[in-house]
Symmetry: C3
């Protein structure tokens, strides 16, 4: 793989100009941060989960974000209704298989979503993605364990199987649409000391997918911007509490020069 430069700023600028609506059915733990990171990017988050309205809400959105982090059976039914509507409209769906591997319910519902609707971007950490790929791994709650597998190959196979883009987040992120493979090396260890960076990354990807049809590129650009903001935040904070607030400040002020200078992407 070789270092490349992508024009992440062009997409960020597009988000700020177009303010796309990003409809979420997400995790109750991080729902505020999912909404707020999308807002701070310049897009327009909508959180709606009533079965009676999710289909209609997805129709006014430019992308749909699903996150099973605090799933219930009913909540997943609402996700399916929203997803069918999103598929009909042709807007991209990002699925975060948060906690897959921790319980049978999470595995089963991940597979149902992948098989019953068209998921465009499948996102998780190494252990979650490995589990969804059918590989035998054990997870420790929602935190990733090291997975003794060739993750790139696994992600690529999964992307081909579901005809989608697969995003594996970690110290280095893997993004593949089954053909192209990207690795994003931005980010900061402090991200693992707070709750919500994974969910926020998913929502950011949802916002970028709303303005760019090449979903692998959109995912890479989203992760680059979010993780550069985290690097900047780490430099300007005194611990995990102030770090999270500074992510918002840094992302809000993120400019072309900073993105171009700090991005670390390989392909």
């Amino acid at each position: 793989m070789a270092k490349i430069k992508i024009d992440a700023y062009a997409l960020l600028k597009k988000i700020r100009a177009e303010k796309p609506v990003v409809h979420h059915l997400t995790n109750w733990v991080t729902i505020y941060d999912c909404a707020n990171i999308v807002k701070v990017l310049g897009a327009s988050p909508v959180m709606a989960h009533a079965k009676e309205e999710v289909g209609e809400m997805a129709k006014i959105a430019s992308s749909l974000v699903l996150n099973i982090g605090t799933l219930t059976v009913d909540f997943v039914e609402a996700m399916k209704i929203a997803a069918i509507s999103a598929n009909e409209k042709g807007i991209p769906i990002v699925l975060d298989v948060c906690g897959a591997g921790a319980t049978h319910l999470r595995d089963q519902k991940s597979f149902e979503l992948l098989n019953e609707v068209k998921i465009d971007i499948l996102k998780g950490n190494a252990s979650e993605v490995a589990r969804v790929s059918g590989e035998a791994v054990r997870t420790k709650g929602v935190d990733a364990l090291a997975v003794d597998k060739n993750m790139i190959q696994l992600a690529q196979n999964l992307a081909q199987k579901y005809n989608c883009t697969v995003v594996v987040t970690g110290k280095e992120d893997i993004i593949t649409n089954g053909q192209k493979i990207y690795v994003v090396k931005n980010g900061h260890p402090m991200m693992t000391n707070i709750v919500g960076t994974g969910c926020m990354a998913t929502s950011v990807i949802g916002a970028f997918a709303a303005v760019e049809k090449d979903l692998a590129l959109a995912s890479v650009a989203g992760l680059v911007c979010f993780e550069i903001a985290a690097e900047c935040a780490a430099k300007n904070s005194s611990g995990p509490g102030t770090f999270k607030e500074k992510i918002y400040d840094c992302l809000y002020h993120l400019d072309k020069k900073t993105i171009d200078r700090m991005q670390r992407v390989e392909r």
Copy 2:
């Protein structure tokens, strides 16, 4: 309209002294911030939504805040039970028609609440309030579009129709009880870059309504205090993340001198 001075501090002082209980059935996205802004004001927030207890909880409260931002059919049923109890006790109810216009469910449930129980303060942004008034407008998720209407007239008609106070938030806020009309010009553009300022404003109004029978005045005083805190926060922060935390700091320390000097109210 002419510039006037209101004694917002007198009401803030009353909240700090009496610590009224403000019962919420609110938005899951912003529930923490709704509770915390009420707490930082000096009042006592209670969030309870079980049908089995909402009626009883409303009876120990001094005001009730309803927010349909993440409504479900069941959740609105709980709202109605709480509202009937609040009506019986004679405490004011504030309804935030968050996202009205985005889906039929939101419109329908807004109308049900307005027609089945007595709402004392109806609050939304321009497009939400226009929708509830029956005017044909289109909204983009929960974010307000400019509405090509005479909002003051529309708000006044709506206040007369439902015999309530109507609060329309935006760059300038309109508050009317059908007779008196106030405009609050405080606030800061940074408020539109984060999620939750609208919901927090509603909760603040709920706290002021708990200590002042003139609900138009209570709403004006609440918005003045909250938006002055936001102006102060904008001056003392480096972006939207730190801005939100500083709103709490500034509101907590808000004093008579600052309120009197910074308020921008017209009538």
Copy 3:
């Protein structure tokens, strides 16, 4: 009672090394802060409430935290399933009777949990614990009123009745397993000006209980660390908003020297 020194740091170090999974069914208002405080401590929070998975999730956890702050009947049913599983595995359960006394539902569900499953640590403020003890008190929402009772005696009786550790939080915290009695005098008045410090304290106790079998000692150590972090945060913040973020920063950096110097424990 006499001043003593406990080795709270030894337990904090153990949490940071072992990263125990702490399963929560908690309050929707404070769910992010409950998860994040556990994460910042170095442990691994999991929030899961679907009846279909809570039993399985409890089995991969090292402790279970239950908080009735925003209970519904269904949610308490899920708590019971999780609790039965936790009892089978032999991991400690912490129950925060948040808001007990405010409504009949909260009282009834507190008693059901205490009687139908084995609760290992029962935690509340003075009015909540008094109510659960059967003493006639009136509460004002979830905020504690002064209780005109000998709280230490009351807590001790309750601990003996349910064969558990009782934690009564307030300006001074009482911790007793029915025999030993501790008082923790750390903490800062600013903790009462924000929402969530009570729930966060419960989650911290859950994390300490995951690594120490003496649950009274675990509770004392957890409160000492959390409240020293709050004292440090109060010194380094400009109000309640920045105070909360600094609690995370201070807890994350908390070291042996600081704990040993600042702890104020009596027995």
